[in-house]
Symmetry: C2
Subunit: 754 residues, 2 copies
């Protein structure tokens, strides 16, 4: 058990490293050369086009103004200067609401911390069992401050129970206010938003193929028939997977060409060459620039013919369409109602924003979707509970003997004692580390297989899976020894009332571990987030080898976005820790508070200066945040129940059992009260907005406005005249197929992952 | 343990009593005097107006045709003569689909019975443990046919596992086909249905009271604003609770007047008298006929003034309205979409049929509704698990000593040995019996408190509660000794894997008990249903004392309806028994089969000749039937898992664990595939029906058709000119309040329970 001194040392180390990150950030961000790494948002918004700094040559790369170095923490007040409304306009509602989660954390935990420290610490410290009764046991000082220090059967447990009630009510009250506020923010944002194509558009999946009629015809006929007053036009979706692959390849070749041309320009003496075989490893040596130019030319031909093929082959039309209406009212009605008597066909839902669409999943049929969901839930369950099995297998292979067998040359080196012990300590951890690094991508991959059609949905579902993983493997896994699988096995063979006791008893003992975890992951981890080491390195590498024009430099910037699949679960873990330890070991709370405050500053800075969200889901993730905090409350209640029952405070059980029931009904009430605002677009709102628009712009040509809205992003990779060409081809094709002339088309394919 | 002989005796007794019921029914139904008890449906349909039979005086009461007595079972072929389509037209879709549940039972269990008997009985009988190893134990012959007879660790358990798979797949297959068939039946019924007011009408709850504007105005304004193209008119709902109470009282007084007048006419010598004090027990003696006439006259005045008050007091308008549209499309859109930005206001849903509306619950506000649901779920839980506590308390009071103390006069009688022992056996059971008789009404009362707005919904919810009660107290309660509360306590302290083992082990031992249960409740119980003893007695009593005119005689008929809250749970219990015992003790299956076949005949006869459904929910109960059979499958799988693990057939666990996962995903798929057909009315259907109607009747005046549709049933208790009067008052009132002239109104109050 760690003593207070241990924790102090750990805190010192983490504070120093966090300060080191902040200092590095402060120095690096002042250099004009890094301006595009630390302030990309301003470039993207168009408010800045070249780095600030003096005009002389050196000043364009290095900041020579000494005074600015002395104010190295001034990004913090700068980050606070923007109001919430400005942030909504500047970075979107998702980012603004994301920041509110940290504020919510502060609002919930600041009073709880004060009350818990003032009331519980005196209650726990005085009259302790630990210091008097069991002097032989080495108990940490932390434990003296926790509930462990209270004698069994003590009347003092009613303080803990009363505070658990108080904290639950306070948390629910704050959650209620916040849910209402966010729901209003969402509706206000939607109401004040300018005209967007997704307000008029509905995505229709599982369009049935009726024999003898083209998909174009049947979509058009169905909506003309069933929504005669408001239906406007539709956009078909093509299967352009191969096309997207080719476009991606062309992009890669273009990069190589740029690299070689730049190399030639800088060292003008000799044209760069390469071998023309596989990966440039063998074959005849040729001139690189000519080689890539030729390759691109060949590829362009292929791309053109592939596009022709897509547009002319009726089988490349997918059974899915974006259907647009002449009013938001019409779209709201179509999105919320069941269209066909077969509820697996003509499934309508709001269309995601065009940039939010995950094109590859649009056309998954209904039966396949059910099967995929089943398989992925089994896979996630297996991953969470059995992830140690493959890792242990890899570890058993990746030991020193294995390495020696594979690479006998290394044997003398490996046999050196110091290297051997280093490797022996390092190798088994490596497999685990690699697994944890690829875990988010793996979960995202699983969500993609599940078949969600928008990036926002994919990220939310990935986040849910990641939270489940963290809950089982970080929270429960740290409290109870053994792998998750062993726990699962134990739980199946224990009575349900025993489980909270088993976990509850261990809870106070793990407080020091979680305090350290918060400092490492929460404090130092967040500080490293602001430094953006990886984007910094990649930007400078690209700048050196690939960037020719200003436009290339723009492309080399990688602002990133709020990484919802990783950040949301980790915030929720902090909420869980805070709520669980609030009455058990309240000394943990200040550490959580520092995390929320510090992370709020850092992410506010990043949201203002760095991130560029790739979609706007209008805070669609809030119901998840809310329900996971409710889940934390429930977990804390059951664990306290178990803990107190081992403390023989048996009378407490009936008192505490009421709490989960109340919490659950609060959750149910909130779900009915607020969640519809995150799913549906109320008819009233739609009508009001339609009327306002009609009054303001009576002669608006909506059809022209919607024409190319859901054109596949693949087209945007080419020049404008090529796009024009493609669009004309599509038009020509439609008139050949006697489709409606007014409709436009989009090509579907996996979006190239940048 | 019962032997085969015991079961044979029990079967003989039950068959004899069932036959006795049938014989009595056959004799009674042939008497013309009972014609209105056994064939009321034909009178209500208008196809029969007086009993069949000869024209002489005696022949009008007693059947003298001897030949008809010899064919006393011919109601069975008669019941089969109607086709399903005819039944749908004759008695509605609810009844037709209700009969299909029995057919489904036969379809599922007939093949299962054959396979189970042919394969499992030989497997179980030969090589038995019971007969050879433990000769000292008295085992029943039934057990030799069951899974108990197979040696532990035997390879033969794979037969049971394979058959469990087979039976699950077969059941799911039949369920899938049936769900699809019923969904199609429902859509076909809705499509072929004539014009109904509920197709055009939506019920709007939680209409907000905006200051300064009347509810009339705000409803009209809201829908004119947000559904401008399709909104037609609305009908306000008044709070007429007191009004309905008065009307009910008037009805009762009228009954007394009729009784006295009839008495006077028959025994013309002396006018009947009564005392005019409380309940006619004291006070001055007056002439009864004059007394009741005066009372009715006074009451009529009160009723008129109350009606005036309702119509003129703006506070009696409830925040709820029936809003009608000019097309089914408009109503479908409004019912399925969210109207207001506050999702707890302007809640829209399909209006129930006018006769299906439960008027009292229309105006419960949203917050109260959440609270009621919470309280009632707690109450149901308590009722199911702790219902023995109040009964034990009443039993402890209602013993002989208590009786003697209350009524010392009875002491000598009670002390007689024979009477004492009879009472001692009888009294404790009485409290339980009374509880079981009032249980359905109690559950219905709870559902009413929960706030559902239609009778069909109330009956479905009551049925769900009753099923839960039966599952815990009849099924589990019979298998495991002790009260449900003791079981709950035991389960909380056992590991989750232990629970299926505890129950699973007892399952085969209880087979004989359930066989007897099926014979008593299923065979003899169903036979007593066809006899309709209670309605028979009540009809003749009414006929004797109250009936003056033909119209009174019509009113005295009480055809009843399919009692969904009681019949659905009990059928589902038989499904559960059949599915659980299919692989464990297959000898139980023939008994279940006989129940399904026999009940099918009986209910088919009743549906055709007796019942008159008071609403048509268009088979809305089917999803519940489906999901409870799925639940039975899951229960049977877990119990087999537990049973086999005690038989040390440990390898079986992984094999059997797959089954619940598959069953659950099948359920989820069915839910998505079919359930929307039971919730929503597809836009496509609505549009098709609208178009067909417009083509057939271009000049239809829908407004006139809808005018009085949702007029409160209380008005129908009065004569026509009174109704006319009320309507005119309402109109006058509306023009005074500057409300829209075209809207009509309805008075809401608890429907008088007949």
């Amino acid at each position: 058990m760690a003593t207070l001194l241990d924790i102090g040392v750990s805190a010192a180390i983490n504070i120093v490293s966090a300060l080191a990150f902040l200092l590095a950030f402060a120095l690096l961000r002042l250099q004009p050369i890094n301006d595009r790494v630390y302030f990309p948002k301003w470039y993207i918004n168009g408010e800045r086009s070249s780095p600030r700094g003096s005009d002389n040559f050196v000043g364009r790369f290095v900041n020579l103004n000494v005074r600015t170095y002395f104010t190295f923490l001034n990004w913090m007040p700068q980050a606070l200067r923007m109001s919430e409304e400005q942030i909504v306009r500047h970075a979107g509602l998702d980012s603004a609401v994301f920041l509110r989660i940290y504020i919510l954390g502060l609002k919930i935990f600041l009073p709880i911390t004060l009350v818990a420290l003032l009331i519980l610490i005196p209650v726990n410290v005085s009259n302790g069992t630990l210091s008097f009764l069991r002097k032989d046991l080495v108990m940490s000082n932390i434990d003296k401050l926790s509930i462990s220090n209270v004698r069994p059967r003590s009347i003092r447990f009613f303080f803990h129970i009363a505070l658990q009630y108080l904290f639950t009510f306070w948390t629910c009250f704050m959650l209620y206010k916040e849910y209402g506020y966010v729901a209003r923010m969402r509706l206000r944002f939607l109401a004040s938003q300018g005209r967007c194509v997704e307000q008029f558009t509905v995505v229709v999946q599982n369009v049935p193929r009726v024999g003898g009629r083209s998909l174009f015809d049947s979509v058009d006929h169905f909506f003309k028939m069933n929504h005669p007053d408001h239906y406007l036009c539709y956009q078909a979706v093509y299967n352009a997977n191969k096309f997207a692959r080719l476009a991606k390849k062309r992009d890669r070749l273009q990069n190589w060409l740029d690299y070689n041309q730049l190399k030639y320009e800088r060292h003008g003496d000799k044209r760069p060459t390469r071998k023309n075989g596989f990966c440039g490893l063998w074959g005849e040596r040729v001139d690189s620039i000519d080689y890539y130019k030729q390759q691109i030319k060949d590829l362009d031909k292929k791309i053109t013919s592939e596009r022709q093929k897509i547009v002319n082959d009726p089988n490349s039309v997918l059974p899915v369409a974006f259907v647009s209406f002449d009013s938001r009212w019409g779209a709201a009605v179509c999105a919320q109602t069941q269209q066909s008597r077969n509820p697996t066909r003509w499934l309508t839902d709001w269309a995601p924003e065009p940039r939010d669409v995950y094109w590859k999943n649009l056309a998954i049929p209904f039966v396949s979707l059910s099967l995929r969901k089943l398989l992925i839930s089994i896979a996630v369950f297996a991953l969470v509970f059995f992830y140690m099995i493959p890792i242990a297998f890899v570890q058993s292979l990746a030991n020193l003997e294995g390495l020696e067998r594979v690479a006998p040359i290394l044997k003398p080196v490996i046999e050196l004692k110091i290297i051997k012990s280093f490797l022996q300590g390092f190798l088994p951890g490596l497999a685990l580390k690699i697994f944890l690094i690829i875990l988010p991508s793996l979960l995202m991959f699983m969500s993609k297989i599940e078949g969600y059609i928008s990036w926002s949905m994919l990220e939310r579902k990935t986040s849910a899976k990641y939270y489940f993983f963290m809950l089982v493997n970080v929270f429960l896994g740290s409290i109870i020894a053994g792998t998750a699988f062993e726990q699962l096995d134990a739980f199946l063979h224990q009575p349900p009332t025993q489980i909270p006791r088993t976990i509850g008893v261990s809870i106070p003992m793990k407080a020091t571990f979680f305090i350290t975890y918060i400092m490492v992951d929460g404090w130092a981890g967040i500080a490293s987030e602001i430094l953006r080491l990886k984007p910094l390195v990649i930007f400078h590498l690209k700048n050196m080898f690939l960037v020719k024009t200003e436009r290339d430099r723009e492309k080399a910037m990688n602002p990133g976005s709020v990484d919802f699949p990783e950040t949301l679960p980790s915030i929720q873990l902090y909420f869980l820790l805070g709520i669980v330890y609030a009455v058990v070991t309240p000394i943990l709370l200040p550490f959580v508070l520092v995390f929320f405050a510090f992370a709020y500053f850092v992410y506010r800075h990043q949201v203002i200066n760095v991130y560029n969200q790739r979609y706007e889901s209008v805070a669609a993730f809030w119901p998840h945040v809310h329900s996971r905090i409710i889940a934390s409350l429930l977990i804390s209640q059951f664990l306290l129940l178990g803990l107190l029952s081992t403390k023989k405070a048996a009378n407490s059980t009936p008192l505490l059992v009421v709490l989960p029931v109340l919490t659950l009904s609060f959750h149910k009430y909130c779900k009915h009260r607020f969640e519809p605002a995150f799913r549906n677009y109320p008819i009233e709102e739609a009508m009001a907005k339609d009327n306002a628009e009609r009054a303001a712009e009576p002669g608006l040509n909506l059809r022209a406005y919607l024409a190319d809205a859901y054109l596949h992003p693949i087209f945007h990779l080419f020049d404008f005249d090529e796009q024009e060409l493609a669009r004309m081809e599509v038009k020509r094709h439609q008139s050949q197929h006697s489709g409606p002339l007014e409709s436009t088309t989009a090509l579907a394919s996996p979006r190239p992952e940048v």
